[in-house]
């Protein structure tokens, strides 16, 4: 499996596709820095969390987390949509599978190589914004902020893993590259894109009039789950997911939540994201193991 990861990584790093993705991430980081530059003074200093503000600040210009929420699914899909079917159409799949390796190490290897690539991209973006932002604002991050950012980073990776898993699944199911690219993209447009999301804006509201059901429906969208957990993780002032009635908020102290409390708040969301990823991966796994390997 190490061999496959090694080869896939070598492939990724020499491919134009990855170069373009890296470029996108870089541009996003630069724009986000500009957004920080414009808006960091408006960050509430009340909570004492200024460093995380580097990632969440942005009013007219989107912040880094918005960019990440937008880019990570695209990166995941771009890395995974041709994982299996391109090998199949090139005729390399049956050549690899006739070597003494387990069949699952092929998907595992490809998936892990994609994760490593995603890891490097997101880490680059966060270090870039964090590092340059540090220079700009001169406020060092506290230990809690670092932990919050780290957990956020992990959740980004999980979120990316979900989209890559989905794309890999379609690349196993369909032989045509166009279909295996369009299917996850369609799902992304419907459920996962943060800019104009038809599901969140129209479909879910149309299906129910009850607020509770509406929220439950929204949480089908992986993007909604991810954005909820991001908000709570990076903004300690973020109080509740969902609807807070007046009786809930009366007597509420406007103080930042402790890390543990924030975590409790988003734990269901994170678990659901991990579950979705695992389901995608498990289905890919089962389908791939049972699939016939015909050369034509």
């Amino acid at each position: 499996m190490i061999t496959i990861i090694r080869k896939e990584l070598a492939d990724y790093f020499t491919s134009i596709r990855c170069f373009i993705l890296f470029l996108l991430v870089f541009i996003a980081s630069v724009v986000a820095l500009y957004a920080v530059h414009q808006g960091i003074r408006d960050v509430s200093t009340q909570s004492g969390f200024i460093f995380t503000g580097l990632f969440t600040t942005g009013t007219n210009i989107p912040s880094l987390i918005t960019f990440i929420a937008l880019l990570v699914p695209v990166i995941g899909i771009a890395l995974g949509f041709d994982a299996i079917n391109s090998e199949r159409s090139n005729g390399t799949l049956n050549r690899i599978l006739s070597q003494p390796i387990y069949r699952d190490s092929v998907i595992n290897g490809k998936f892990l190589a994609g994760m490593v690539t995603l890891f490097i991209m997101i880490l680059t973006a966060m270090l870039l914004v964090g590092g340059y932002g540090l220079r700009m604002i001169g406020v060092p991050p506290g230990a809690e902020e670092i932990i919050r950012l780290f957990i956020y980073f992990i959740s980004v990776i999980i979120y990316g893993a979900f989209w890559m898993g989905l794309a890999v699944l379609f690349s196993i199911l369909f032989r045509s590259l166009a279909i295996s690219l369009l299917c996850p993209l369609a799902i992304w447009i419907l459920l996962g894109n943060p800019v104009f999301n038809p599901y969140i804006s129209f479909i879910a509201p149309a299906m129910t009039s009850s607020v509770g059901t509406y929220l439950a429906l929204l949480r089908i969208s992986p993007y909604f789950l991810f954005s909820e957990s991001t908000a709570a993780l990076l903004d300690p002032m973020f109080r509740g997911l969902g609807i807070l009635t007046v009786s809930d908020t009366t007597g509420m102290l406007y103080r930042p939540l402790s890390l543990a409390q924030s975590l409790i708040l988003v734990w269901p969301q994170l678990t659901a994201l991990i579950c979705l990823t695992v389901i995608c991966f498990a289905v890919s796994y089962v389908v791939f193991m049972r699939q016939e390997i015909r050369s034509t």
Partner: protein, 311 residues
């Protein structure tokens, strides 16, 4: 023939959507031989090979390679077996050497071992000069050669080659056939599929013919050839400077001779065994000059035609 059998299938059957592609197939491939798998398109050759490699599960029956069940212990089979698929593909962005190195790594070879082995097989298939060119620039024939190198790089005990000479020029075909024919000496058994009968005839020791998923015939090539031509007998053709009825009679009396027919100066003799020595002695003793004598050569075409007429 008490040669060890390395590939054995027992009532191997495969169905796709209700059609039986391979039907109760019983194959036996002896060790260190070149075994030809013949049959028209769609006869189930490739499916049989995929089942041997453990890439496809049989509906019933079993395949054993070196005693390992292909379905249950595919890794052990794959460790010993090299497979050249009919439609082969390489990573176009990588060079021949890199493609081979990937395969060598997947077979847990050390770097040193892999490098020397890669140099050797590239030399054998004649690709040394283009070893560091990206495979995307290769011609069909060069890819085919690389495919053979790809099989050999892991030093297989069994090489399964599906159309190994497809896309090669005549010179390349000869070169590759010689290479394949030399494999049994290096203790590699070869199973090859091919539609070119003369190739099979040239290098194969035994063959099996499949049609519609069923085994039509299996056996050593020379035995099958005689069966096809003369129902298992030897046909000997003798040319003399003047055949007499007496001579026909005398030859007919040699034990083992079944039938003698005269046709001008030619005698067509059917015999149970190769009686050329005895016949020549009789002819010369009878005072007739023996001009030439030959045992009739069969061609695989005859075998093929015979079994397809029957089937």
């Amino acid at each position: 023939m008490d040669k060890k059998i390395v590939v054995e299938t027992q009532d191997l059957t495969k169905r796709y959507d209700g059609t039986t592609v391979v039907n109760n197939l019983n194959l036996h491939v002896p060790e260190n031989e070149v075994f030809g798998l013949l049959g028209p398109n769609g006869a189930g050759k490739t499916t049989t090979i995929l089942m041997l490699m453990g890439l496809t599960e049989p509906a019933s029956g079993s395949a054993r390679v070196f005693g390992f069940n292909s379905t249950r212990e595919p890794l052990k089979v794959k460790r010993l077996t090299g497979y050249l698929p009919e439609r082969l593909g390489f990573y176009d962005g990588l060079t021949a050497r890199q493609n081979l190195r990937f395969i060598a790594w997947l077979n847990n070879m050390t770097d040193d071992e892999a490098n020397s082995q890669i140099d050797q097989v590239l030399e054998e298939v004649g690709l040394t000069e283009v070893a560091d060119t990206a495979v995307g620039k290769y011609s069909r024939g060069m890819k085919q050669r690389l495919g053979i190198a790809d099989v050999l790089v892991k030093k297989p005990r069994l090489a399964i080659l599906d159309e190994p000479t497809a896309g090669l020029d005549p010179e390349g075909i000869n070169q590759i056939l010689d290479l394949i024919a030399g494999l049994p000496k290096m203790e590699t058994t070869v199973v090859m599929c091919s539609h070119r009968l003369y190739e099979v005839q040239r290098i194969c020791h035994s063959i099996a013919i499949l049609a519609k998923g069923k085994l039509v015939v299996e056996g050593a090539l020379d035995t099958l050839g005689r069966e096809a031509l003369a129902e298992g007998r030897y046909k000997i053709e003798v040319e003399t400077d003047g055949a007499s009825p007496q001579l026909v009679e005398i030859i007919g009396k040699i034990s083992g001779v079944k039938n003698v027919e005269a046709e001008g100066n030619f005698l067509h003799i059917t015999a149970d065994s190769d009686l050329r020595a005895a016949i020549s002695k009789v002819v010369v003793n009878s005072g007739v000059a023996l001009i030439q004598m030959k045992i009739q050569e069969f061609s695989l075409d005859d075998i093929y035609k015979k079994y397809f007429k029957e089937g």
